[in-house]
Structure formats: C-alpha cells, structure tokens
C-alpha cells in the first residue's frame, strides 16, 4: 500500500455572517496517498474550494469556525499555529489557483515571485534561487525561461501564467499539490497541456494531487479517486470507475447526465439538474439534495451517513437511503446515466 500523505477527518468549516452561520464544509473526510490524484467535484458553493483552502489555513479569519482534523504526517493542519502553517505552505503543500491572471502579483517579475517562495523556506542566495526558478520554468515548458523570468505577469499569456504558477508550486517539491480549478480560466487547447503537465507530475510519483474541479471531463482524464461534494458534504466517494460506471447518489447521476459525450448521440436537450443548490446558511433538514431530488422519500429528512452501500466495493461510499438495486434501476434511461424523473419501481 502506498504511503499515506494526508488524512482528513470530519472537517467542518463555518462562517459567521450577517445572514447567519454558513456551514461551508460539513463533516468532510478523505485521504490522499503518494502518487495519487484525488478529484473533488461539485458545483459552485459546494464547499470544495473551502475544503482545500482550509488545508492550507487560508480560510482562517475572525468569523470562521473549524472542526475535525486534517493530518499531514504527525501534524494537524486544522489546529496548527500560524507559524507552523507558514512553513508547511509552499513547502509541503503547494497550491495552484484557478485564475492565473489575478493570482500572480501584477507588480513583481515572474522569476522574483518564484524566488520569493524558495527563499521563504530555504536559506539560499538570490542568484541560486533565481537559477532554480529558471530550471523550474523550463521544466514546465516555458520557452526561453531565463529571459521570461524577468518578465511581468501581464507580459505572459494565460497558459504561460498557469505554467509559471505550476513552476512556483513545484519549487520546493511539495508532498501535496492542490490544484483548485487550474484549467477553468484557460482555452481548451491550453487546458489539455496543463492537465498533461499535472498528470505527469503525479505519475513521477513523488506527490499526491488534490484536484478540485466542476468539470467531469477533466476528472475522467486525471483522477484516480473521486469525491463528489454537494452543499458542504461529500455525497459520494469512490474510484474513478466506480463513480463513472456505478454512481450511487442521484446528484452524481445528475452531474454525469449533464456531461455531453462525444461517443453518444447528442440529446435534443442537454439534461440538467432542476432547481438550485441550497443557501449554506439555511440548508434543508436531512439530505441536502432532497429538495432537488425526484427520488426523495420520507426517510430523506434524516441525514444519510456516508457509508459503503455497494456490497462488492467496500471503499465506494455514498449518502443516499435508496437501495442499491433501486438506484441501479432508476438511474439509467436508454443506457444513459442521468437524473431522470422518478421511475416507478
């Protein structure tokens, strides 16, 4: 078995706001091994970004409340002091953000921004750090890296900026790499290149990658395991194949159903999940997906625990009260998985 890097247990994050307490992350548990890519999938506001930001201590603020634990080696990231976190950030856990345009400081040279990170953790000279920055930039495919390191972010294209972000994230060979929608803001062709870049890194085997996205196409490309999040909770968790070929939660069906697939006849109308995700300040009782779920029944007012319900794969867990056989019968129409209107059993 591979080496365990990160163990998140029952993580809770809430924010005290004018409109009440927003429970952004509500009891999330997962683990990450070396060499593995775990994808966290969900809509806007599902809590996926807050989850990974919390791992780095970036959601700490006077109005934030935390619960649970996130163990990195023998340290708990949730309870870590700011000083501990400073040394962990960038060195043991690094992060690539969604928008490379706004995520780089506009007034500093790209190379200097990488140097800044290296020198925050290692006592080496500026020149040595700069040489390393240039090497890193070359490694992620930035041509003429020595010249480009002296350029400012606005002189870079979107794809090149994201490569620079990746170079920066890799600068201290972190064990855990978090990529928060790293390809969302990019053109499709650039997306593929950046994904390749990240995939290669994980295959080299040194780090584990947490890949946050709402794009199931990207997930299919890159992930080993998948966490589906809805309204602050993990609703389903399993390997890539389990999630794609035997999805257990109606929300997952909905997500899969709304992906256009090249290998199938396109539907006349793109299927969609009805309704909107709930406000996290005022979530429905029981299963959070209940108000949007055509299959909801009495029992759904109780919170379903995240547990294995598929006998043949004990690692595949979900939060839905429906019986496995029932689920399999309801989720498919014409061989296509989707969130269909209630089918009589």
């Amino acid at each position: 078995m591979a080496e365990r890097l990160l163990e998140v247990e029952d993580l809770e994050v809430s924010f005290v706001t004018e409109d009440g307490v927003v429970r952004a992350v509500d009891g999330v548990s997962f683990s990450l091994d070396r060499g593995e890519v775990v994808a966290i999938v969900g809509e806007s506001g599902s809590g996926k970004s807050v989850t990974v930001m919390t791992l780095m201590g970036l959601t700490r603020s006077p109005n934030a409340r935390f619960g649970g634990s996130a163990r990195l080696g023998d340290r708990d990231l949730v309870g870590a002091s700011e000083r501990e976190l400073e040394s962990i950030r960038g060195q043991e856990i690094a992060m690539i953000f969604q928008d490379p345009i706004s995520s780089l400081s506009p007034v500093h040279r790209i190379g200097d921004q990488i140097v800044e990170q290296i020198r925050a953790h290692e006592k080496i000279s500026k020149a040595a750090a700069f040489d390393r920055a240039v090497d890193l930039m070359e490694r992620v495919g930035i041509p003429r890296a020595r010249d480009r390191a002296r350029a400012y972010p606005h002189e870079f294209s979107g794809g090149m900026r994201q490569r620079a972000m990746i170079a920066m994230a890799l600068s201290l060979s972190p064990g855990v790499l978090i990529a928060d929608e790293p390809t969302t803001a990019l053109d499709v062709t650039i997306q593929a290149q950046i994904l390749n870049e990240i995939k290669q890194l994980s295959q080299e085997g040194d780090s584990g990658v947490i890949f946050v996205t709402h794009d199931l196409g990207v997930v299919a490309d890159i992930a080993d395991r998948v966490l589906v999040m809805y309204a602050g909770r993990v609703v389903e968790q399993g390997t890539l194949d389990e999630i794609f070929y035997d999805p257990q939660h109606p929300y997952t069906w909905g997500l899969l159903g709304s992906v256009t697939r090249m290998d199938r006849e396109p539907p006349r109308r793109l299927p969609a999940i009805p309704g909107q995700p709930p406000s996290l300040a005022n979530t429905p009782e029981g299963c959070h997906f209940r108000p949007r779920c055509p299959h909801a029944f009495d029992r759904c007012t109780e919170v379903p625990p995240l547990e294995s319900r598929v006998p043949e794969s004990p690692e595949h867990t979900d939060r839905c009260w429906l019986d496995v056989a029932e689920k399999r019968a309801r989720r498919e129409v014409d061989g296509r998985i989707g969130l269909n209107a209630a089918v009589p059993s």
Binding site: V13, F15, V16, T17, E18, V22, A24, G42, E43, S44, G45, S46, K48, S49, V50, M53, L58, T59, R60, S61, P62, N63, A64, Q98, D180, E181, T184, V212, T213, H214, D215, L216, G217, V218, L255, S258, V259, L270, A272, I273, P274, G275, Q276, P277, P278, S279, L280, N282, P284, E285, R290, P291, R292, C293, P294, A296
Partner: protein
Amino acid sequence: MSLDPPLGQSHGDAGAGVVITSEQGTGDAWEAGHHAPAIGPWQLAFRRLRRNKVSIAFLVLFIVLVVACLLAPVYSSDIAHIGPNANNITGTINVGGKSENVVSVSGVPIGPTFTRHYFFGADTNGRDLAVRLLYGGRTSLLIGGIATLIIIVFGTLIGLVSGYARGPVDAVLRWLMELVWSFPPVILGVVVGTALAFGGIGPIKGNSVLIPTFIIGGIYVPYLGKPIRGEVLRLREQDFVDAARVQGLSPWRIMLTEILPNAASTITVFVPIMLANTILLESYLSFLGAGVQAPNASWGTLIGDGISYISTTPTFSLIPGAMLVLTVLSINIVGDGVRDALDPRAQVRIKT
C-alpha cells in the same frame, strides 16, 4: 493579525461544465419557506442602517443640534431676552450676586456665566454668545443645507447630461468641471467670496448669506458631477438602457427613469459627505472673512471673532468650534453608516 479575507465563500468556483437550470424543481415545503420575501435594496439598506447603533445615535445628536439651532429665536426672545445683534459693550450683569462688566475695560469679553443671561459669555461687542451661537448655527446649517441641495441638483443634472450625451456637450461640461476642480476649494472660495462681498452681485447685496451659499454650492458641484458622470457612462452601456432605447424612449425619459434610479445610491452616499464638506467650507470662508458678513454670524465667524481672545477667553472660539465639530462629526458618522448600508462591500462584515 487578520490578513484573512472575511467570509470564506469568495473563492469563486464558477460553474461552466455542469449545466444547472434556474427553473424551480419539485415543490417542497423547505424550498417554499426558505426564500425570504423579496425586499428592495433600499429597504435592505434601511434595515442595515437601523442596526448600526452608532450611526443612529449620531443621527439623533444631529437632529437635536439642528432643532436647537432652529429654535434660536425662541431662546433669544424667551430665555436670554436679547437679540443676536444687540450690542451691550458698557453693560453690567449680575453674576452670583456680584455685578460684572459684560466687556472689561481692557476690552476682554466675559466668559460663560451659565445663567440665562450670557450663558456662554459675551463677544467683544457685548453680544450674548449663546444667542449668537444658535443663530450662527442656523446660518451655518442653512448655508450647508441649501448648498448641498444645489450640489445634488446641479451635480446630478450635469453628470447625467455629460455622461449620457457624450460628444461636445460632455467635453464642455467636463472642461468646466475640471476647471473648478483644479483649484483648492478654500482658495477658490476665499477669492470669489472676498470679491463678491465687496459689492454684491446683481440684486444680491454683498453681505447676503446667499453669496457664500452659491459659492460653496458651485465649488462642490463637480465633486458630485464627476462621479455621477462616470456612473452614467457605465450605466448607459447596460442592456436595460439599450432595451429602453429600442423601445423608442426619449433621451430625457431614459435618463430620468432608467439611469437616475440606478445612480440614486451613489447620490445618496454623497449627500452627507457634501453636507459635511459645505458646512466645513463655510466655516473656513467665514473664518477668513470671505463668507458670512457682519452683522450675521455663523460658527465660522464666531470662531474667527474669538480666536484673538484665545488666551483670555478661550470659550469664545472653542464653544462655537465644539458645536461645529459635533455637527460635522455626526454627519460624517451617519454618512459612513449610510455608505456601509448601501454598499456592504465597502465595509467588512465581521461579527465575532
């Protein structure tokens, strides 16, 4: 140390890959009960303002000050029994059983007696300072209020026309605004004020309070006109304005019914800012002798009169000063509250 952004959900994960329709799905008790009844942005702002205890307290203080100043004639005739411009250089009054000169032989006016006569003392002409303080406040507030009205009306009008018409009209209006803008308000006000105080202008006499009112209003018009113009330039590109144009509405109609309501919150935020600034500018001008002219008083002239006696009778200038500061301070605090209520992004919402 809090470098942490308040509220955790600003980290955008904009949905693009998953299609989510906004049509309402299954009817559910929770869903029906969850959505709060729609309330307008103004109502929401008003609610927020009402929750802001400090702002409300200072709003009350401001109202008290205004009412007190408006009641100046009542105080003058029923309590102090002396008019605001009645000299009494040679008079004496009875303080604690002793007879004292209102103005000493060396010309120093008496300090506060805290009785109905000369409550806050006298000025060099033996006039009752408390009476003049209230009358002066009335003048200051009146000038500030009318000047603010002028600014709001003309600033909005110029901003609307300039931003909506663009082209040569905009060029001329903008040039005019830049011109006024490029002079410091105090210097511009003092130059114009002094010049006009000499001979008045047209039917208005040199010592009329209308002169400083118009000057102060005029000086600050661009300070509202420029931001409104910017707002209008932004708004006129919006789809709802295009829609109105397609419907064939006239430019004036579009400006007044489509654009103005959307610029209203910006204008509202400027009302207290302008009121505070006009009252302050009035005090500067009057202090420098370019604002309110004798025998009228304003807080600025009273401070100016008293400043030569700062070593002997400090209350002479500091009491009008305190009134002025309290008024401006309460306007500023209420103004901050209004701004935060209308634009919650401007403040940081933290409740610990």
